[in-house]
């Protein structure tokens, strides 16, 4: 009887080990799948970043083409308090970031200051104030007359923001910011072309956005179930 009980105990123990092993394998599979999805998303973002001209690049083309700063193109800074949902806040963080670049490239110090305030305020709303902090503000204010340094600071800060959001597993917010910035710079470019239809360089750049759009839709699709993304996907 004792031997039977020992045998049953051993069998139960082995069976439990097997279950644990299966559960453990399942966890590993989930982890591999999760890492695979993350890698795919990273690849999509890299494709988008590779293909999408940054707001700096787009507005630099405008500047080279002899364009003047048009005050009606950027978003109204006073609208910032209207944005309450995650989708609104993320998208308009991207919009104001592109507007900040637009003002910077064209040396509009007053507008730069307005859009810097917007980006900082939106950073607080999105709980990323550790990125858009006093130190960044001071660096920008100190370099307000140095366009190149300001562009470097702005670009670096948005890269840090993207890394921070990924670390916090808030990739959907990061995707919203990319979409917002892309749409705003494309909007500024298309409005410029509307006024200057003879500018072939900008027309060419706009035509290339077809490929960026395809990648962007992929990115939004991968974050589709998260806050705000479903709506964005349908509008794209």
């Amino acid at each position: 009887m004792k031997k039977i009980l020992i045998a049953i105990s051993v069998m139960l123990f082995l069976s439990s080990c097997e279950d644990e092993k299966k559960a453990s394998n399942l966890e590993v599979d989930k982890l591999i799948e999760s890492n695979k999805k993350q890698e795919e998303r990273t690849e999509k973002i890299e494709n988008i970043i590779y293909n999408i001209p940054s707001p700096t690049e787009t507005v630099s083309i405008l500047k080279r083409a002899g364009a003047k700063y048009v005050f009606d193109f950027p978003n109204d800074p006073l609208k910032i308090d209207n944005y309450q949902t995650t989708a609104q806040k993320g998208l308009n963080m991207g919009v104001y970031g592109a507007d900040l670049t637009y003002a910077t490239v064209f040396n509009k110090t007053t507008e730069t200051s307005f859009y810097l305030t917007c980006v900082t305020k939106m950073g607080k709303k999105l709980n990323v104030e550790s990125i858009f902090n006093e130190s960044v503000n001071e660096r920008i204010q100190d370099n307000v007359d140095n366009r190149d340094s300001m562009q470097v600071i702005i670009n670096e800060t948005f890269w840090e923001l993207d890394a921070y959001l990924k670390e916090q597993e808030r990739e959907n917010v990061s995707a919203l910011i990319i979409v917002g910035g892309w749409i705003e710079s494309l909007y500024i470019a298309t409005q410029f072309v509307k006024l200057n239809p003879e500018n072939t360089e900008m027309k060419q750049r706009i035509a290339e956005q077809k490929y960026s759009l395809k990648n962007l839709m992929g990115l939004v699709n991968s974050s589709k179930n998260k806050a705000g993304m479903e709506e964005i996907y349908s509008s794209l």
Partner: protein, 55 residues
């Protein structure tokens, strides 16, 4: 509802058949010239999406 991408693709196909658009392969870079109609359509669509975002 058609996406901008679908519309660009369709317009591009029509434009190519009507010889209004020109696609050239330069190395691995694709250069696409847009017809005015397609460009105007895109300008309008981008403005609509942008309005949805900011308003």
């Amino acid at each position: 509802m058609k996406s901008i991408f679908d519309e660009i693709k369709e317009s591009k196909e029509v434009a190519t058949s009507e010889e209004n658009a020109d696609v050239m392969m330069i190395g691995n870079k694709i250069t696409l010239e847009m017809s005015d109609e397609l460009l105007n359509n895109l300008i309008e669509k981008v403005a609509d999406i942008r309005t949805e975002i900011v308003d």
